[in-house]
Amino acid sequence: MTLVDDISFAGTRRRTSSGPTGPAVGPEPLLRLEGVSVGTDRVDLVMDVDLSLAPGETLCLVGESGCGKSLTCLAAMGLLSAPVRCTSGRVHFAGQEISALTETQLQALRGRDISMIFQDATAALNPVRRVGDQVAEVLVLHEGLTCHAARARAAALFDMVGIPDPRARLRAYPHELSGGMNQRVMIAMALACRPKLIVADEATTALDVTTQAQILDLLRQLQVETGAAMIFVTHDLGVVAEIADRVAVMYSGRIVEVATADALFEAPRHPYTRGLMACRLHVATPSAGRLAAIEGVVPPPSARPAGCAFAPRCPKAEAVCANRPALLGVGAAQAVACHSIGPAR
């Protein structure tokens, strides 16, 4: 446990020189989102997201269901499907503007340089194909291996992600494996070509707590081994605390706070982030007491208030909140979009 803590601590410290929305100095960011907006013809779902990610870094995207976390990831990979599309903004990956690439060019990147792990692995695997073939397919596609060689590599990957008896499991179908095993298959598939970036969309949400911890450990360990950067989408702050270097909190389609994980847990600034923190269960939470909750619900994208979207639920709302607050830096490690925490205060 201490060793693992040291590793993540070292990782965090290495990046404290970075600015809050991304490493302003130091290495060229691996992934950079510039003013990315996602929506349909009628509604905006994600607005003006700026994010960047250094090689090897872990960024957690946090927020309630429907706040646009997954859409932001899909937009970064060019995986949105009609009628939802990227309405504006640019995505740079490894020095290349991938938002300008064609579908065919993106195909070469996906699965090789950027790979994705989905929430419900059992549903995300093709039910009528053997899991081994589904993993081997990536290797055949991107590394030009023969089917035979790809299967052998798939077995090695299964072994790496801790699937017992890998050779036999290659021939299993997803319905014959547990949710945790299927998630391991997904991870093996995602890591097959040693990608530079892994996008994990609620990768542990569908799993029970024990399996969740195992999968998180596995991801963290493999990330250290392969040096891949990771975007981890979750609404579970416990998970964030365990793996994040940096955290972006989203609310109703916008980023409301970005900070290094240390800074965020030490001093959450945005009232929404504070609300999320307050909702967590602590060992110290008295069992008879009521859990804290944020009053109200997330406004639907079609009925978002003109100013700060959180204002109707915010305990600190003022008249000025009718204007949208900009995401401004607070110190070196944090940026917040809230009028109550201006850089001047």
């Binding site: 790979s115 419900d120 009528v128």
Partner: protein, 311 residues
């Protein structure tokens, strides 16, 4: 394929056949005296009695039934009053014609239906999609006798480019095959389309895209095998109706197959022939159902593995 599965299917198939035989036997006996239809009205009563005894029609119904079943077990399907030969020979002589028409129509309509359904699903909302939907509704709602007559009117009478009746050349096959196949192609296209649409929205399709799999491979390797599972049911039904489905079309186009024979035999109370055809139709249904079950297991490992213990 476990032996238990096979035995169960076989027993169920035999039961179906037995019920079909019994049902037809009873209905036909209740529907009227075959001798009155076969013989002229002024036939002397003693001649009628002679034939009644000859064909065993003077025995009580249960006895006739048991004798008939006993015959079936020995491959004796009865005697055609009309053709004065074993009913089985009469029926078998018509099978090639029906198979030629039925299989041609089945294969062509299946290919058209599958391709149209897949393309429509991939281009949802486009002109192609709307054309496929329209065609499918047309095929579904157009009664085959009407479509047949309409085509005869246009292609045989007005433009004189296709023969209107009979069998002989490939040109003779065109109109009956189209008439027979349009409804099937429409149904298959519609099922394929909706099944594909459902599959295309499944998470594993997004996974395939996120893996960088090219679109053609995604459709053929990931989508189609999943979408095929419900479509197979429709194909099975069409296959089961291969013989019975031709009745109307064969009558309209005077196609010398089983369907036409059935219509004549019913009209003439040629009991043994009708019964043989019904057994044949039931047998096709049973075989088609069995084929569907086997195809399911082949396509969907979740069904095949239902008996196996989960790991």
């Amino acid at each position: 394929m476990s032996p238990g599965f096979l035995t169960l299917k076989l027993l169920r198939g035999l039961l179906t056949l037995f019920l079909a035989v019994t049902f037809v036997f009873v209905i036909l006996r209740l529907a009227g005296d075959p001798l009155r239809l076969m013989l002229p009205d002024d036939t002397p009563p003693d001649v009628i009695d002679h034939y009644r005894q000859l064909y065993g029609l003077d025995r009580p119904l249960p006895e006739q039934y048991l004798r008939y079943l006993q015959g079936l077990m020995q491959g004796d399907f009865g005697y055609s009053f009309r053709d004065r030969q074993p009913a089985l020979d009469t029926v078998l002589s018509r099978i090639p014609a029906t198979l030629l028409l039925g299989l041609t129509s089945f294969v062509v309509s299946t290919l058209i239906g599958l391709v149209a359904g897949i393309v429509a699903a991939l281009r949802r909302g486009s002109l192609v999609d709307q054309a496929v939907i329209s065609f499918s509704i047309f095929g579904h709602s157009m009664p085959s006798f009407f479509l047949g007559i309409l085509m005869i009117l246009l292609f045989a009478m007005t433009w004189r480019i296709l023969p209107s009746a009979g069998m002989g050349s490939a040109a003779h096959l065109v109109m009956p095959a189209i008439t027979l196949g349009v409804g099937g192609a429409g149904a298959i296209a519609r099922f394929t389309r909706s099944s594909m649409l459902e599959v295309l929205n499944q998470p594993y399709m997004k996974t395939a895209r996120a893996k960088g799999v090219p679109v053609a491979t995604r459709v053929l390797r990931d989508a189609v095998p999943n979408a095929a599972i419900p479509v197979v049911t429709v194909l099975g039904l069409r296959m089961g109706g291969l013989i019975s489905g031709t009745v109307v079309v064969e009558t309209v186009f005077a196609w010398p197959g089983i369907g036409q024979l059935l219509v004549t035999a019913v009209g003439q109370r040629d009991l043994a022939v009708v019964q043989t055809i019904v057994i044949l139709v039931a047998l096709t249904m049973v075989v088609a159902n069995f084929a569907v079950d086997v195809a399911y297991r082949w396509l969907d490992p979740r069904i095949a593995g239902a008996g196996k213990e989960a790991t």
